[in-house]
């Protein structure tokens, strides 16, 4: 046990030195590291949001809204299909709870044809279900000439997947506008997106920017209806919507349901200033389709007011003075400068497929993060000092060996954290401290065994050999149980708690190496050099 072949010595020293080299960058300021030569490792441990400050926002996509949108569109498709084939129908309804659209065909002679045509609306689902032949909806007959189109689970999942994917991209474009470093935007679970932005101070503005659905529509104002009358009678004409402006008090408008041009046809939006009034505006440009449609609509409706509607709120309702043929225009709506710039970002980044709601928010200010780092450093330093003093008091020279191994252990934790790019959180620092206790425990076990063997009258070499050998199975057993609960913690936890599990796991694994192998190497050389008659333990 105490004999180390040369290659093993080199391997052990290599790991120790490697660990220290990778840990070293953490001792310097980030700016100092950047001026170092490139061949040196200069990855530093990433600090968690609780240490460097930042925002953690968990968003949930509204599944009901998504399904509703889908059913609305499906209903329009059914109507379109049946009209095209001149099949007369009745009772075209959608059922949100059942996730289905149903229709009744008037003439029995059309029934088979209608069924065949509507079946074409259902398409095979791609992705993991591609080969199984699963379709995005089931089309079935129901009594009395009825046809039901019902969304399948696979179809919904596929829709959710693409909605989440689109949301992530939209959010990324919006967060990027803030210019912060390394924001992280990830999917979580079925219908959630986790947004983490380090070092951000204006969280309210971030939330506002992400939370805006950003659905822009150009629609005509129904000049034939008086908004005042509609508000009073609560009778909205069938082809119209009653919408309000965003200001206070909100002004009601009666607006046609038909969308002339929508935000999907925008290619660019920029904040700017009106040349005449100097007020902040947003200028935009349409793509070819949008430009063509906008030109036609404005030509047909000169002199009439149209409304720019964002997420169901009227931003402005100007009168079309002349046809707008160039495919570009401007939105004014008594904005402040930041409002105009945020609106431009929202429009440029595209609309979210459905509304996102914050279901969990954790933000830490930079000052608290700095305080936590300072407190963590102080507590760790003090803890280390106490452990080192106590170990030396309890075991003398062998305590010193354990202490050296302990310092190497901490260096290895930082080395591995820097290498794998893991994140250090405040509980993570507590994990390092707990590791100190567990790491020296291995040495306590070994040293106690050596004492026992000495009392049993064994020679120094034999006692040390036996001490290491017999303590080993205990060390493994006791560490495995701690690792089990740590892995559960990793699997359960998020953010800070997961950071604790990570450092503790790395620390325990590293301690098996430092507390056992590294101290044994030290003891082996000490034995060879001093050839003691008695072990000072």
């Amino acid at each position: 046990m105490l004999h180390f072949p040369q290659w093993k010595v080199i391997l052990v020293l290599g790991v120790v030195i490697g660990g220290i080299i990778f840990a070293l960058p953490n001792l310097f300021a980030r700016s100092t590291m950047e001026s170092m030569p490139a061949w040196l490792p200069h990855h530093q441990v990433n600090l968690g949001l609780d240490l460097q400050g930042g925002a953690h926002l968990l968003y949930q996509l509204d599944e009901n809204e998504m399904v509703e949108d889908w059913l609305n569109k499906l209903r329009d498709d059914v109507r379109e299909t049946l009209r095209k084939d001149r099949i007369s129908y009745t009772d075209l309804t959608q059922n949100l709870a059942d996730r289905s659209v149903s229709v009744r065909i008037r003439e029995g002679t059309d029934y088979d044809k209608a069924y065949d045509e509507l079946r074409k609306l259902s398409v095979p689902v791609g992705g993991t279900f591609a080969l199984s032949g699963v379709r995005n909806m089931d089309v079935s007959r129901s009594g009395d000439n009825g046809i039901v189109l019902k969304a399948t689970d696979a179809g919904l999942t596929q829709r959710m997947n693409s909605a989440i994917q689109a949301s992530i991209e939209t959010i990324r474009r919006r967060v990027d506008a803030f210019g912060t470093t390394e924001p992280s935007i990830q999917r979580q679970g079925r219908n959630r997106v986790l947004v983490q932005v380090p070092g951000i101070s204006d969280v309210e503005r971030l939330k506002k920017l992400i939370g805006e659905t950003g659905k822009l529509e150009f629609r005509l104002v129904d000049a034939g209806a008086s908004a005042q009358q509609v508000v009073e009678s609560k009778q909205v004409p069938i082809d119209d919507d009653l919408l309000y402006s965003k200001g206070t008090p909100p002004v009601p408008y009666v607006i046609k349901k038909q969308v002339l041009v929508s935000g999907e046809n925008l290619v660019d939006a920029q904040p700017g200033f009106d040349q005449r009034t100097g007020e902040p505006i947003v200028t935009f440009r349409f793509d070819a389709t949008g430009a063509k449609r906008f030109a036609r609509v404005t030509q047909e409706n000169v002199g009439l007011p149209f409304a720019i509607v964002l997420d169901g709120k009227v931003i402005s309702a100007p009168v079309i003075r002349e046809p707008i043929l160039g495919g570009s225009g401007q939105i004014s709506g008594s904005f402040t400068v930041p409002e105009a710039s945020d609106l431009a970002v929202t429009l440029r980044s595209g609309a979210l497929p459905a509304k996102l709601t914050v279901i969990e928010e954790r933000t830490v200010g930079a000052s608290l993060g700095a305080d936590s780092i300072a407190a963590g450093k102080k507590a760790t330093g003090l803890g280390l000092l106490l452990v080192v003093l106590f170990m030396f008091a309890a075991y003398g020279l062998f305590g010193l060996f354990a202490n050296i191994a302990l310092v190497i252990n901490i260096a290895l934790i930082f080395g591995v954290l820097s290498l794998i790019g893991s994140t250090l959180t405040l509980p993570g620092i507590a994990g390092i401290v707990l590791t100190m206790g567990i790491a020296v425990d291995a040495n306590v076990l070994i040293n106690e065994r050596i004492r026992e063997e000495m009392r049993a009258g064994k020679s120094p070499v034999a006692a040390i050999e036996a001490g290491y050998r017999r303590a080993m199975s205990t060390i493994i057993d006791s560490n495995v149980t701690t690792l089990i609960s740590t892995l559960v913690l990793f699997w359960l936890g998020s953010g800070p708690v997961r950071g604790f599990a990570v450092t503790l796991t790395i620390g325990i694994l590293a301690s098996m190496f430092t507390a056992v192998t590294v101290t044994r190497l030290m003891v082996s050389y000490w034995l060879r050099w001093t050839r003691p008659q008695l072990i000072p333990i």
Binding site: R362, V433, L434, S478, G493, V497, F500
Partner: protein, 316 residues
């Protein structure tokens, strides 16, 4: 050369298991009293499990005007609101009860920020909506149960079922004892408390395994020794290690309680308590339980479950 202070003499012969009547009473109290506390006083659930909003603010002036802040926040009619000093005189913690919907939850922050204005530094804002809090409760419970089952299986696999049952029973003792501390001191019970519980489970078990290991070794070594004596011998042989190890971990963790800052204070305190209660349960719960369950000798001969009288006679 300095050979270290032998804090615990090598040849202690303390009758830990022999005096088990007393320790049973203490262990029972340590298990039942916390349950009574939780039942009567309850736990101070944090927003992780209850949902709600938590804001930590720092005022520009050196002492925060708690009454003023309280009045302003109460004026918003957000339901139950707590305003308290947090660590420093100009640090204030505001807790707002869960709101009916996620949106109202979000609006509560905006409203508080409006009434308090820019004159304060918002050091921390946490909002946990109803969806997430119920998931966290389920997740936390599952984690503790899964960890216990995984450990039960591991110990069963490595030792005998009696060891595994004794280990789990003493872990239940540690967990209830720690939850009792949370209730008695009204420490906030949140996600990091679950982390503390899981860590205490892992760490406390670490200790039991060391003693079990020695029991198993001694069972092979002393085939004729009565179980009571054998258990006491094993505990005494490992006593020095048990004490030293807990002292070092305690020393490492203690500074976090004192200078680690408010954010981690509760977690560190629970850990320190867990270290103490874990040491106690290794000696006074796990070992005597083995006596009752009757650990098996190597030869496959099952020791009769707890016949203290017969063993006392044998010793005499």
């Amino acid at each position: 050369m300095f050979r270290g202070i032998h804090f615990i003499p090598a040849d202690t012969k303390i009758g830990f298991v022999r005096l088990r009547t007393i320790s049973w009473v203490i262990s029972a109290l340590l298990t039942v009293v916390p349950l009574l506390l939780v039942w009567k006083v309850g736990l101070n659930f944090g927003i992780d499990f209850q949902g709600g909003t938590l804001m930590e603010i720092q005022t520009k002036e050196s002492v925060a005007d708690l009454a003023d802040i309280r009045a302003k926040v109460h004026g918003l009619n957000l339901g139950e609101v707590q305003v308290q000093e947090f660590g420093a005189p100009n640090d204030v913690l505001i807790r707002i009860a869960a709101q009916p919907t996620e949106k109202e939850q979000q609006d509560s922050i905006t409203k508080v920020k409006q009434v308090l204005g820019d004159q304060v530094d918002y050091r921390r804002v946490e909002v946990v909506g109803p969806t997430v809090s119920s998931e966290l409760i389920a997740g936390g419970t599952v984690a503790v149960v899964v960890a216990m089952i995984a450990i039960l299986i591991y110990i069963w696999f490595r030792f005998e079922w009696q060891f595994a049952v004794a280990a789990i029973a003493s872990l239940v003792h540690d967990v209830t004892g720690t939850i009792g501390l949370y209730s008695a001191l009204q420490l906030e019970f949140n996600l990091s408390s679950i982390a503390a519980l899981l860590t205490i489970i892992g760490y406390s078990l670490n200790d039991k395994v060391v003693i079990f290991d020695r029991v198993r070794e001694n069972l092979r070594k002393y085939r004729k020794m009565p179980l009571t004596e054998l258990l006491d011998l094993s505990i005494n042989e490992t006593l020095s290690r048990t004490v030293l190890t807990h002292v070092t971990t305690f020393l490492a963790m203690m500074p976090f309680v004192i200078v680690g800052g408010e954010a981690i204070h509760g977690f560190a305190l629970a850990m320190c308590w867990g270290i103490v209660i874990g040491a106690y349960s290794s000696i006074y719960v796990a070992a005597p339980l083995q006596l009752i369950l009757g650990v098996r000798r190597d030869g496959g001969m099952a020791a009769a479950p707890a016949k203290p009288k017969a063993q006392a006679r044998a010793r005499a």
